[in-house]
């Protein structure tokens, strides 16, 4: 199965990004394909590489980067939502790229399932 994922909230404030991450990890472990995670609304804040959580907490941004690099997942940050919120290439974590909303629609077309995580 081929999954597309939409994340609508930023890291920490809501659990959405956490749940999406664990869902993606579980899907990969079961041998499914996750071709793209699209970050929209405050979800774009998941790509801010300056994020530095406390030592005893999970690092949400790095976790996404690592997963993407290990499994070739396309992490796409919506350009319009990102501009609004001040997410630009200069602070973009590895493995993320900024692109248009068409990438989300395309994901819906190409994936067998599109699953939305938000607030």
């Amino acid at each position: 199965m081929k999954f597309g994922i939409l994340v609508n909230e930023g890291p920490f404030q809501h659990q959405a990004s956490d749940t999406a991450y664990h869902f993606v990890k579980a899907a990969l472990e079961k041998g499914h394909e996750v071709h793209r995670v699209f970050f929209y609304h405050d979800g774009v804040n998941n790509s801010n590489k300056l994020s530095e959580p406390q030592q005893d907490d999970r690092n949400i941004v790095q976790r996404w980067s690592k997963l993407a690099q290990e499994h070739g997942i396309d992490l796409v940050v919506c350009v319009a939502a990102a501009l609004r919120r001040g997410i630009k290439d200069e602070i973009l974590a590895p493995g993320f790229r900024i692109s248009g909303l068409g990438q989300l629609v395309e994901s819906g077309i190409q994936a067998d399932r599109l699953v939305v995580f938000g607030d």
């Binding site: 749940t19 079961k30 699953v115 939305v116 995580f117 938000g118």
Partner: protein
């Protein structure tokens, strides 16, 4: 069709809205703060039990544990799943509607 609900039934009307739209044969998966709806001994439990006559209910175990909700006190008939089980449900039931 798989419906997910991630809000506490005591705080928002999201679960009600979901139940109004879950057709017989579809499934509801309670995640995040939505897991409180899976517990016995609340006024919500009656609504869930009524809905269970036509719709299958699942609840995400990791979210129950995080919140200190005892698996033994989950409404009888609601199945506890892990993240892998969540993935399986999206495959089994088809299109997913997230009630946010």
């Amino acid at each position: 069709m798989l419906h997910t609900v991630n809000k506490s039934p005591f705080q928002t009307r999201t679960l009600e809205s979901c139940l109004r739209h879950a057709l017989p044969g579809s499934a509801v998966l309670l995640i995040e703060d939505g897991v409180y709806a899976a517990m016995q001994g609340t006024p919500i439990a009656d609504k869930v039990r009524a809905a269970m006559e036509q719709v299958r209910f699942y609840v995400l175990g990791p979210d129950l544990e995080a919140r200190g909700m005892d698996g033994d006190k989950v409404i009888e008939g609601i199945e506890i799943v892990d993240y892998g089980g969540f993935v399986d449900l999206t495959i089994e039931y088809g299109t997913v509607q997230s009630w946010l």
